[in-house]
Symmetry: C2
Subunit: 317 residues, 2 copies
């Protein structure tokens, strides 16, 4: 059994590789829900949906999220009312949010709804939200950003296109949240736990903020393998590099190593960062080098096999 | 100033006539919201929307509600999740519900949101929900219907296509509701108050159940003109005839007269019911006869003029 801690697009690609390399029914994905938000009354789970749509091969490959060939009739009709229009949702995508919102209103927990949606999209893996309770990633911008007070995550990420300096990230509600059913068991029982190449600050940290999850990882630290989302000092997608630097870390594989050292025994880095191997090891974890830029499902499958092998090896030592 | 108490399709047609016969800015519509419901998390106001879409000439004339030439991409995508699919909403229609739901979540009262939606659709009249609080029409079916317990209104009206005998109708939340801002003033200040040819049981009674509205009508009873939704013993649309009979009344203009006699001084009936004129008068209100079947905006305008004239006349006596 393999458990993967996941954010959005990068995690979805890795999971595609996992499903190509291993029987999907042996894979559990524990997914960040700190990005979730309510838009026009609809409960939107960006990371869960990106993974679901990618694994069902219905994702819009161009943008990495949303459904391919989706129409935007609803959003076009919303324009007549004026108001903010920066959060775009396709018509078929909206159906997912409507189904989820209706079920949640009926009192069905998010983990159950997530399983129903995954089944409807034909997924073979087990998809778990990190928690059934609401945890909300909140962003406080740096003084120079011209925006005071905290922002909701999507406000920072989509509306401001994460192009503003961040002073602080916190996870509102995390202290009162519980891991969703199956999360702790999937970590405890896994052969290897992989931390996907997702943003450590805003994709993985929210998961670790749910009480019990970080401790469960630390208890299996030798079996925990993180894959760096930073390659050659830059994030492949999104603001991971900027956030690491702004929040006092390094925008490098060494910075990623420091971020994950408490709960991961191994860091997988790209060949482009081979020269930093010793620096990663000196942080206090094993370092394994391979190609991490998932340009195809084949590369993603190779990366998945490599990470799992590294974890098995580390666990055997 | 003219105030019209309104349900859905019949009221929308009458209001089209009102706007053709009088300056729209002199017309206030007080609209039933007992039919409102939350579908997939979205707050739907069937009567308000039918009126808005009709007056903006964007209504689907074939079905009498929804938007013309609307697409159904979201509903089609919802089918993959299974579950009930009897409540159909077009894509552009959904945008209205999403806008409304988002605003309500922001704490904006329904009356304000309604005015915003009306403005976006270019309406000239003032459109008021009967209340900013939630009032829900609940239906208890007769023993023979094979369904025990109360039903939500849309469950009865749309899912069961109102083809089941009803034992009781009540308006949950009405006792705690307040008339929306402007409702009582619009009745007190109106030259004539018209009760549209809407279902007395499920379109007009919910409005009257909001504390203060029935009393405001009674105080102006000589100026209140009801238009019968029953013509020749049958409802033109919907279950008004059946409901009147099932709840102990008569499925005739005499039954409508009895239903409205406490708060209306005049009943307008169709020429087809001319023979029942004396029977209506014997109930205790004035009776005025004209063509009430609104086959065109011209007929609706004539009916609007006739009803207003009848109210002015009665008020002057």
């Amino acid at each position: 059994m393999i458990t993967v801690l996941c954010g959005g697009v990068g995690a979805a690609k890795l999971l595609e590789g996992m499903c190509a390399a291993f029987p999907p029914e042996e894979v559990t994905a524990v997914v960040n829900t700190g990005d979730d938000d309510v838009m026009h009354g609809l409960y939107v789970c960006p990371d869960l949906d990106t993974i679901t749509y990618t694994l069902s091969d219905e994702v819009d490959r161009g943008q990495g999220w949303g459904l391919s060939d989706d129409t935007t009739n609803v959003m076009a009709a919303l324009e007549r009312f004026g108001g903010p229009a920066w959060f775009k949702l396709g018509d078929r995508d909206l159906a997912t949010h409507m189904y989820r919102t209706g079920r949640l209103r009926d009192g069905v927990p998010l983990s159950t709804v997530t399983a129903e949606v995954a089944l409807s999209f034909g997924l073979g893996i087990r998809l778990l939200p990190m928690s059934d309770q609401e945890v909300r990633t909140r962003i406080r911008l740096a003084d120079g950003a011209g925006v005071s007070g905290e922002l909701a995550f999507q406000d920072y990420f989509v509306r401001l296109r994460h192009a503003v300096p961040v002073a602080e990230v916190r996870f509102a509600g995390a202290a009162e949240a519980l891991p969703a059913p199956g999360v702790l068991d999937s970590i405890a029982a896994a052969d290897v736990i992989v931390i996907a190449p997702s943003n450590p600050v805003i994709s993985i940290d929210p998961i670790l903020a749910v009480p019990g999850i970080a401790a469960a990882l630390r208890a299996r630290r030798d079996r925990v393998v993180a894959i760096s989302p930073i390659v050659a000092g830059a994030a492949l997608k999104g603001p991971a590099d900027r956030l690491l630097a702004e929040l006092g870390g390094d925008a490098s594989v060494v910075g990623v190593a420091k971020w994950h050292v408490a709960h991961a025994g191994t860091l997988v880095i790209d060949q482009l960062d081979n020269a930093l191997r010793d620096a990663v090891v000196s942080v206090g974890l094993s370092c394994a080098v391979t190609g991490t830029v998932m340009t195809s499902v084949q590369v993603a499958a190779d990366l998945a096999r490599f990470a799992v092998a590294a974890g098995r090896l580390a666990g055997r030592v």
